[in-house]
Symmetry: C2
C-alpha cells in the first residue's frame, strides 16, 4: 500500500495543523470582488502558497488550502453580501482557467488526506449549487483558457458555463488517460446527471486528454455557450446582468461580518466559545460538547442582525463546523466522535421559535441553510458518531438532529446518583421535519423511519413535548435508554469496541447505513463516484511506484497490471 | 497489494476454467426438490467440493461453485417448472443454515476473483428477487440455525424470512467484527432499504458478532417471524401453502428442458451454436459475434414451447450469458469486448413481433426476463464495451440493446470496398422501450436520452424503420458513423487506446457513466455498497498479512492501521 503506516506529509511553513479559518484579507489564491449585485471570484493561485511542502501550485492548480479559501468566500457571499445576485468564477491568469487538483500534491498525499481533501472540495462545490438552488445566487463560470480536471469540475458546479472560442481553449477531464484516476470531485456524476451528457459522448470526453472545445462542447452539453475571444468580456458582463435580473436574491440590508472564531488549541482539545472538543487520545475518542444559549433570543430580526456572528445559532454552527473539519483532517486517529450538550432545552426551543417566526428574513434563512450544510458534513464524517443524552443536556430541535445523525444514541434514564440535575430530555421541533434534509433528500427522521410512515407521524405529533428517556425510546428516537447502573459500562464498552474494529470497515459500514432510501445527484457523488475513486486511490495502477499518479511528469510511462477487476 | 501481479489460485481437480454450466444431476451442494406447486432448494454443501484448492466448505459456507448451482436452479425453476408457485430455501444440515462465503476462500482469492465472485452472487440474489417481483414465484427462507454473513444475505433476498426460536438460532452479519470487511452481497443495502431496519439498530446488528435472535429479530425487522422448534416444520408448510395461494404463478403447461449448451473451447475462442467468442490476446480484445435466426419464428406458442431451449431468442441469450461469464471470471486480461452480429435484421424483427404477439405466454415472458437479466449482466461487466454495426449485421430490437449497453458504438457508413453486402442498418422495436430496464429502473435509451425527452420520442417514432448510419447518428443511436476509409483505423486506434489505459480507472469510469440518473436498491448494491466493499478489499486492515481476513482462524489478532479515512 502506498501509504500504509506512512506518516502524513509535512505542512508548509512549519504549521502543525490544517486551519479552516481564513478571511479575504488573508487569501493567497482567490480574490473576492463585489461590484453592486455582481461578485467575481477570481482564481489567481500563488504557486508558492502550497499547503504542504514539496510541490508548487502551477497553472492555477489547487490543493486543500486553495479550496479552504473558496469555501470561505462562498460563506461570505452568503452572510456578508446579501445584495449579491450573481457570482462569476474566473481566472486571473491568461490562457488557463484552472488545471485542477495539483498532481504532485495528490501523488505525495496520504490516502487519508486524499480522501478527505476530495470530500471537502466536493462539499464546497455542493455548497455552490446550494447557494444557487436555495439562496438564489446564480453562478456563472467564465472559462478563458484551459479548464482541466478539477478545473472543469469546478465549472460543472456553476449554473452556466461560458467557454472562449479561440481554437485552443477547451474543457477536459484528463484524469483517466493521464493519471489513471477518476474525475472524482463530482465530475463524472455532474457530466452524466447534471449536464446529462450522452453516455458515449461522456466516454469519449473522459478518455480524451485534450478535451473538447468550440461547437462540439456546446452540442455535447459540456458548456452552455462558446464566445469568440474578442466578444468574451462583453458577453460575460451581459450574461451576469441577465442572470442578476432573474435572481430572486438581492437584499437591500447590509450583511453581517463573519468574525474570526475565538479558539484555543491545546494538546488535548479545542476550546471555542460555545463548543469544546476534548480528545481522549488513548481511547481514540473526541467529545464535542455544544453549549445552549446563555440569553434569550433577540427581540427582533433587526436585533438578530445587529448580533451578527454572535447570534447563538450561527456562532454554534460555525464553531461546530470548524471542530468537525479539524477532526477530519488533523486527527485521523480519532475513531469515534461523542456529541454532548449542556444547557436548557427550553432556551434552545426559544431560538427554534425565533428562527421559525423570522423564517422569511434572509439571515434566518441563511442560518438554517448553514446548519443544513454542517449537519450534512456530520453525516459524511467517517468516524463513528454517538450522541449521549445526559442530565443537563439540551438536545432539542436543531441540536437533536445530532442524535439522529449519529450511528447510535444513548439516553440517560432517571438521575445520576449524587447529581441533582433533572433527568435528561429530548425535544422535537419543526426543525426536525423539513429544513435539514440529508444528501438523500430525506430528513434524518424520515430516513430513520423509512419502514413506517406512522412512526414518523407519531414523532411529528410529539413536537414541543418534553420527552423523557422512556418516551423517547418508545418513539424510536434513541437507541438505548440506560440508567445509572448500566450507563458508564455500556458507553465505555461501546467506545472501546468501536476503537477495536477496523477503521476502514467502519467507514464503509457507516457510509452505507447512514444513507437508507433514495439517492440524489449529491448523494451519488459521495457513493457511486467517491467510493470507486477511493478504490482506485488504493490501486497500484494509480498510486504504486510504477503507477500513473507517481510517474506523471517523470517521462516514464506507467506500468499497469492489465487484469480487469 | 495482497494480490498485485499474483497468479490466480489453482482450481480444484485440475480444472483450467470456471464453468457456469451445470444441471441438477451434477449438483454437489444444492438439491432442488419439487412437490406440486412448492419447490424446496436444500443447501447441503459438500465440504470437499470446493471450486479452488486449499480450503474446505465447512458449515454450509459457499464459494462461486456453490452459487453457480443456485443460479442454475433458479433458472430451472423459471423454465422447467412453470407450475411452481413457492420456493423454500432451507438447509439440510442441523443447526446451521449457512455460514456465508467461505473465509479461507476469500482470504486466498485474488482481488479480481473476489470482486467478480461478489458480483455474480449479487446477480443471483437479484435474480431471486426478480423471480418474485416479475414471475410471481414467492420465496421463503426457513432458517433452522445460524444464518451468518452471506447466509443471512441469502435470506434477505427472500420475500419472507422464518427463524427457529430455540434460544440459539440467530441471524447475523459478523463481517465487520470478525473479518474487517462488509456484508457486501447486498447485506447492508437490503437491511437498510428492503427490510428498512432503523439505522441505529442496523449499526448494532452489523457490529455484533453473535447477531440477533428471537423476538428482537422480529421487532427490529430482521426476520418476519420466529417459530418454536417444535412447530417449525408445520409452520414452514403452512406458510408455503399460504404464499402459494397468493402467487400469480402456476402454469398447467409443462416446462421446457434447459439442455446443456453445445460449446467448444479452443485456445483462441469459444464456439457456441449461435455465439462465437474470439480472443485477440495480444490486443486484449474479445469479440462476441451473435448470429441471427436461420429460420422464421414458429407458427404458434405451442410450437415455441416444442422448440424449447432451441428457440432462437432463448438459445442466443443462454449462450451470450455463458460467454460473458466466461470472460468475466476466466479472462481477466481482456480489456474490451466487441459485439458484432451477422444475419438479417428483418429475420430478427420477426422474432420480436412473435414475442410481442405472445407476450402473455409464460415462456415468452420468461425469455424477455432472461434477456433483461443478461443485458443487466452486460451493463455490469467491467470491460470496455463497444458494438460494431457493420454491413451484414442484424442489430435490431433486442440485439440493438447491446449497442445501447456499450460504452460506444461505431456504425459503418456505406459499403465496404470489394464487399457486396448492403450497408449496415439499425432497427428499433418495442423491446427497446420497456421490457429491458437497467438496474437504475430506466431503459437504456431512456438513460441515454436523459437530457431531452423529445429525443427519446423521436427514437420511439422510428420503431420498425430501417435506419442507415446517417439516420442512426442523427437520432443519437450510435456514437460515430464512419466510412470505409476511416473504419479500420478508427476502430483499431480505439481498441489500442482502451488497452493502454489503466484497467482500474476504466472500471471506475464505466461504473459511473453507464448509470446516469436514478438509483434503485438494486443499483445501490452495485454502487454504494460494492464500491465501498471493493475499497475495503484493497485495504491492509482486511487483506494485508496482518489483516483480519488473513488472520481469521489463526488465533492471532489482526493488527490495524488505526487511521480513519
Amino acid at each position: 500500500m502506498a501509504d500504509a503506516h506512512a506518516p502524513e506529509r509535512p505542512l508548509a511553513n512549519g504549521q502543525t495543523r490544517i486551519d479552516f479559518q481564513t478571511e479575504p484579507s488573508r487569501y493567497r489564491h482567490w480574490k473576492l470582488q463585489i461590484d453592486g449585485d455582481v461578485a467575481t471570484l477570481l482564481l489567481d493561485v500563488d504557486e508558492k502558497g502550497a499547503l504542504f511542502e514539496g510541490y508548487e501550485l502551477k497553472l492555477n492548480s489547487y490543493d486543500l488550502g486553495v479550496d479552504i479559501e473558496l469555501a470561505d468566500a462562498i460563506e461570505r457571499l452568503r452572510f456578508e453580501h446579501p445584495q449579491v445576485r450573481v457570482v462569476v468564477l474566473r481566472s486571473a491568469k491568461p490562457r488557463v482557467f484552472c488545471a485542477g487538483a495539483n498532481i504532485r500534491m495528490l501523488a505525495g498525499a496520504s490516502h487519508a488526506h486524499k480522501v478527505n481533501f476530495c470530500k471537502f472540495t466536493n462539499e464546497t462545490r455542493n455548497g455552490l449549487e446550494d447557494l444557487s438552488a436555495h439562496s438564489g445566487l446564480q453562478t456563472i463560470c467564465a472559462i478563458n483558457g484551459t479548464a482541466a480536471g478539477g478545473g472543469y469540475e469546478l465549472a460543472l458546479a456553476a449554473d452556466h458555463i461560458m467557454l472562449v472560442d479561440d481554437g485552443s481553449s477547451a474543457v477536459s477531464l484528463p484524469e483517466l488517460p493521464l493519471l489513471a484516476v477518476l474525475p472524482g470531485t463530482g465530475g463524472l456524476t455532474r457530466v452524466s446527471d447534471k449536464r446529462k451528457v450522452r453516455r458515449d459522448h461522456a466516454d469519449f470526453f473522459c478518455t480524451t486528454e485534450e478535451g473538447v472545445k468550440g461547437k462540439r462542447a456546446v452540442e455535447w452539453r459540456l458548456v452552455d455557450e462558446v464566445v469568440p475571444g474578442s466578444k468574451f468580456e462583453q458577453a460575460v458582463t451581459a450574461r451576469a446582468q441577465e442572470f442578476a435580473a432573474k435572481s430572486q436574491r438581492g437584499e437591500a440590508a447590509p450583511g453581517i461580518r463573519l468574525m474570526p472564531l475565538a479558539r484555543t488549541f491545546s494538546a488535548d482539545g479545542i476550546a471555542y466559545d460555545l463548543v469544546s472538543v476534548e480528545f481522549d487520545r488513548a481511547g481514540r475518542v473526541a467529545t464535542i460538547t455544544l453549549r445552549g444559549p446563555s440569553a434569550p433570543p433577540p427581540a427582533s430580526a433587526d436585533a438578530m442582525q445587529a448580533l451578527g456572528a454572535e447570534f447563538w445559532p450561527l456562532k454554534l454552527a460555525r464553531e461546530l463546523d470548524d471542530a468537525i473539519l479539524n477532526i477530519r483532517l488533523n486527527e485521523f486517529d480519532v475513531a469515534a466522535i461523542v456529541f454532548k450538550s449542556s444547557g436548557g432545552p427550553d432556551d434552545v426551543m426559544a431560538y427554534e421559535h425565533f428562527l421559525d417566526d423570522n423564517k422569511d428574513h434572509w439571515l434566518s434563512r441563511e442560518i438554517r441553510h448553514f446548519w443544513k450544510r454542517v449537519l450534512k458534513r456530520v453525516d459524511l464524517t467517517s468516524r463513528s458518531l454517538v450522541t449521549l443524552i445526559e442530565p443537563g443536556s439540551c438536545f432539542a430541535g436543531t441540536l437533536a438532529e445530532l442524535a439522529f445523525a449519529s450511528d447510535r444514541s444513548y439516553m440517560f434514564l432517571g438521575q445520576r446518583e449524587g447529581d441533582n440535575k433533572p433527568p435528561a430530555t429530548l425535544m422535537l421541533a419543526a426543525a426536525n421535519f423539513g429544513p435539514y434534509p440529508m444528501a438523500n433528500g430525506l430528513t434524518r427522521l424520515g430516513s430513520r423511519f423509512l419502514a413506517d410512515a406512522t412512526v414518523l407521524e407519531r414523532a411529528k405529533a410529539a413536537q414541543g413535548v418534553t420527552l423523557d428517556a422512556e418516551r423517547a425510546q418508545e418513539l424510536g428516537l434513541v437507541t438505548f435508554a440506560l440508567d445509572d447502573i448500566d450507563w458508564d459500562d455500556e458507553v465505555r464498552v461501546f467506545l472501546e469496541e468501536r476503537a477495536s474494529f477496523s477503521p476502514d470497515a467502519l467507514t464503509g459500514l457507516e457510509a452505507n447505513l447512514r444513507f437508507a432510501g433514495p439517492e440524489t445527484m449529491e448523494s451519488k457523488i459521495f457513493a457511486r463516484l467517491t467510493a470507486w475513486q477511493n478504490w482506485i486511490f488504493q490501486r497500484p495502477n494509480a498510486v504504486g511506484e510504477d503507477g500513473a499518479l507517481r510517474r506523471y511528469g517523470t517521462g516514464q510511462k506507467p506500468v499497469f497490471d492489465t487484469r480487469r477487476v
